[in-house]
């Protein structure tokens, strides 16, 4: 196995170097044979990466402690599912997963029907191959997944208890699919620049890729938040941790990119901006990997310190400098024949404002994340920027984005008039203000919450009107019944209406964030057996404290009975698990009682020999809205890409054309 498993890595490296060179040679000599040989090499690279994955799965599944990676991340008593998913628990395995996804994407691009005869493919694959060479190099010489252990231990160290959670099975996979996915539009953008194709062909080819990458990135963030909420036991879901920020930044810039490419498709504008955005998004995925693996910043999620970060920093530097060089060398061509804004009151203007807000939000997160490094370099002391900084900066930006999202559907492409905007805007605005007044009357009096919910009401109304007026206009034109008109309206405009569903999802998430951040209640009490804790309308009776064995692990648990307004909700069992083979703190299993209104969140924090126990009890309002919104984002994104064809005709607005030399 040792020979074979290592051969998959070194052969993968050799073949990816060969393919990169032969495709480059094929492009310069215009020989299809050479290109085809390189394409064959890509299939070989995929085969090697796939077999490397299967080999590591096999070693992990069979607890073969001859291998250091198996020793470091598993133990023989670990459930088989966690044994297998330990593949992405460490540096080497997770980078192997990354390499596998990269090779999978390369094969998908190469063998896709719409890419047949497409002259961009050799350029795109060679850019992706350069990435593959880097990753295989890392796997071969820096983070080796198939290194032997010496001496061979009888038992492994086990998996970090925090990672023994269903959320952790999916979270890294979705995040990597998103990270690697962003390299596809980046490669297409670079290929278009190198080939001097200044039209929007590359955007049309990568529409679905970009949305899929964005969807996975969204899922990665959502699953990460969900995991933090149920597993870490502090009652929150987002702590502006450097690693969380690392995955949030490319999400923000990719969101901006998804919107701004529509302006290029329709108005032939923002070409330089779009390419800059995809370069930034791609660079941020590498930057995130650098942060996670370098150990320069402390985080609950980070991998152990290693010199891997340096390799990523160098690779990121080369990628960014190279792509900026290509961009600058084509700058004049990009500026030529570019369209321009015809009106400040238009859909493209609102998209541009939203873009600026998203990029501003990404920059603020970036600055807050690297500030400890900057302060250490300048003043010699590491000053950490905490949650208050991020909340203070990001909250107004989020609210402004929500406002622009509310106004955007009411605007037409190219030219809207203030009069029309006023006509469409007046009723939703009045209703939003009435809603805000009602909130104040009903006792919601925190300024940010009132403004936030007001903007959300505005967004919900304008989006409802967009659907309503769309159906009405379609019925006027076709005479269809309302349901058929709505169905056809949506499936004929998947991207637009899928986008609106995503907007609604974001509105729901924002409702959850505002509610849980502004109106959460918390108490921490040490009580005797038989006593109870009261918080809001809840009463939590502490009935029993005991311990038991769950497999090899020791579990300390408390039996509690929860009542709301005097009515029994049930008996529950918050616990602490002491994992065998783990030197870490015990893991927390929280009790969460969810409803649309709020979550009751109970943590068994500590206990004494006399039966006294300390509980952390929280009431987190509107948490379910956060998860419902996340689900809507997934539905909206899937709706947008379902059955999408890149040949779909996009309206093209010409406006005033400019010819600049």
């Amino acid at each position: 196995m040792y020979l074979f498993a290592n051969a998959t890595i070194y052969l993968g490296l050799a073949v990816s170097i060969y393919s990169l060179l032969i495709i480059t040679l094929g492009i310069s000599t215009q020989k299809q044979k050479l290109i085809n040989s390189g394409k064959g090499g890509i299939i070989a690279v995929f085969t090697c990466a796939g077999l490397a994955m299967i080999s590591l799965f096999y070693l992990l599944g069979t607890s073969d402690f001859h291998y250091q990676y198996v020793v470091d991340y598993t133990s023989s008593d670990l459930p088989i599912l966690y044994k297998l998913t330990a593949l992405w628990a460490g540096n080497a395995g997770s980078l192997l997963l990354w390499t596998f996804f990269l090779s999978l994407y390369m094969v998908m691009i190469m063998s896709s029907r719409k890419m047949k005869g497409n002259p961009m493919v050799p350029y795109v694959t060679s850019i992706l191959l350069a990435n593959a060479v880097f990753f295989f190099f890392i796997l071969g010489f820096v983070a080796k997944p198939f290194e032997l252990s010496n001496p061979v231990p009888a038992e492994g160290r086990g998996l970090n208890p925090m990672l023994q959670n269903p959320g952790m099975i999916i979270h890294p996979v979705t995040l990597y699919l998103g990270y690697v996915g962003l390299s596809v539009p980046f490669a297409f953008a670079m290929a278009a620049l190198i080939m001097k194709n200044m039209d929007d062909f590359w955007i049309k080819m990568t529409r679905r890729w970009t949305i899929i990458a964005w969807l996975f990135l969204s899922l990665g963030n959502i699953f990460g938040g969900q995991w933090a909420y149920v597993e870490l036991g502090w009652g929150g879901y987002w702590a502006w941790d450097p690693v969380e920020n690392a995955s949030f930044m490319p999400w923000l810039t990719a969101t901006a990119f998804l919107h701004s490419v529509m302006i290029q498709e329709r108005k032939n504008m923002l070409k330089v901006w779009n390419i800059s955005l995809i370069i930034i998004s791609y660079a941020l995925t590498l930057f995130g990997t650098f942060l996670v693996r370098s150990g320069v910043l402390t985080s609950v999620h980070a991998f152990s310190n290693s010199n891997l970060g340096l390799y990523f920093l160098v690779f990121m530097g080369i990628a960014v400098i190279g792509s900026l060089y290509v961009l600058m060398s084509r700058y004049n061509l990009l500026k030529r024949s570019a369209g321009e804004f015809n009106s400040f009151v238009s859909k493209e203007s609102s998209f541009l404002i939203n873009n600026l807000l998203l990029v501003g939000a990404a920059f603020a997160v970036f600055w807050g994340t690297i500030f400890p490094l900057v302060s250490e370099a300048v003043r010699g002391t590491k000053v950490t920027v905490g949650t208050p900084f991020f909340n203070t900066v990001e909250s107004p930006i989020l609210l402004c984005m929500m406002f622009v999202m509310s106004v955007c559907p009411m605007l037409a492409w190219q030219k809207s008039t203030v009069k029309n905007l006023r006509k469409n805007f007046l009723i939703p605005a009045i209703l939003a203000v009435i809603g805000m007044v009602l909130m104040v009357v009903l006792g919601i009096q925190k300024a940010w919450a009132v403004i936030g919910y007001g903007v959300i009401i505005l967004l919900l109304i304008t989006h409802y009107l967009e659907f309503y007026r769309g159906v009405k206009a379609r019925r006027k034109m076709t005479g269809e019944n309302p349901f058929l008109a709505l169905y056809r309206l949506m499936i004929k405009n998947r991207r637009r209406y899928g986008g609106y569903l995503v907007h609604l999802g974001i509105a729901f998430i924002t409702m959850g964030i505002i509610g849980s951040q502004n109106y959460d209640l918390q108490t921490m009490k040490t009580i005797d057996l038989g006593k109870s804790i009261e918080i809001k309308d809840y009463r939590i009776n502490y009935d029993r404290l005991d311990q038991k064995k769950e497999g090899p692990n020791d579990v300390v648990f408390a039996d509690i009975t929860v009542f709301k307004d005097g009515k029994k909700l049930g008996s529950f069992e918050p616990k602490k698990i002491f994992y065998a083979n783990s030197e870490n703190e015990p893991s927390t299993e929280v009790t969460i009682i969810s409803s649309l209104k709020e979550d009751l969140y109970v943590v068994l924090s500590a206990w004494e020999n006399n039966g006294k126990a300390t509980f952390l009890v929280k009431v987190n309002p509107m948490m379910d809205w956060l998860w419902i919104g996340s689900f809507m984002i997934v539905i909206g994104a899937l709706f947008a890409i379902w059955n999408g064809k890149y040949q779909n005709i996009t309206p093209r607005y010409t406006g005033v054309r400019k010819e600049v030399a």
Partner: protein, 124 residues
């Protein structure tokens, strides 16, 4: 170092041969050249884009997003562009669009728009 079994050697050799097959086999196939160039945006594609734009403008007018004057101006602007394309297609020599020709072209645009709406629906 772990003992290297025969089966491991065979599997590695097979993997190496498979890789070699993938990269070498195209080199022994018939000679072909990388002659396929990016397809230029053809005239029918531009025409489809313009019809789609007209369709969207009409829809947004019906949704009260643009004023009547803007609607008329924008519609005219794109109709003239389509007229130019249709004129080119029909190989008329004259570069100016006379009124009778415009009327004829407008009727043709209307007919095409109707069939287009049936085919594609709003906004496409």
């Amino acid at each position: 170092m772990q003992d290297i079994s025969v089966i491991s050697i065979v599997c590695t050799a097979v993997l190496a041969l498979v890789c070699l097959f993938f990269i070498l086999s195209p080199l022994f196939k018939w000679e072909a050249y990388l002659g396929i160039m990016a397809k230029e945006q053809d005239i029918s594609q531009i025409k489809e884009n313009l019809f789609s734009t007209l369709n969207e403008i009409e829809f947004e007018y019906k949704m009260d997003k643009i004023s009547h004057n803007d609607y008329k101006n924008l519609k005219k602007q794109y109709e003239v562009q389509i007229a130019g394309i249709l004129k080119d297609e029909e190989k008329f020599a004259s570069s100016n669009v006379d009124n009778s020709l415009m009327d004829e072209v407008e009727r043709e645009i209307e007919a095409t728009m109707q069939s287009y709406k049936k085919k594609k629906g709003e906004g496409k």
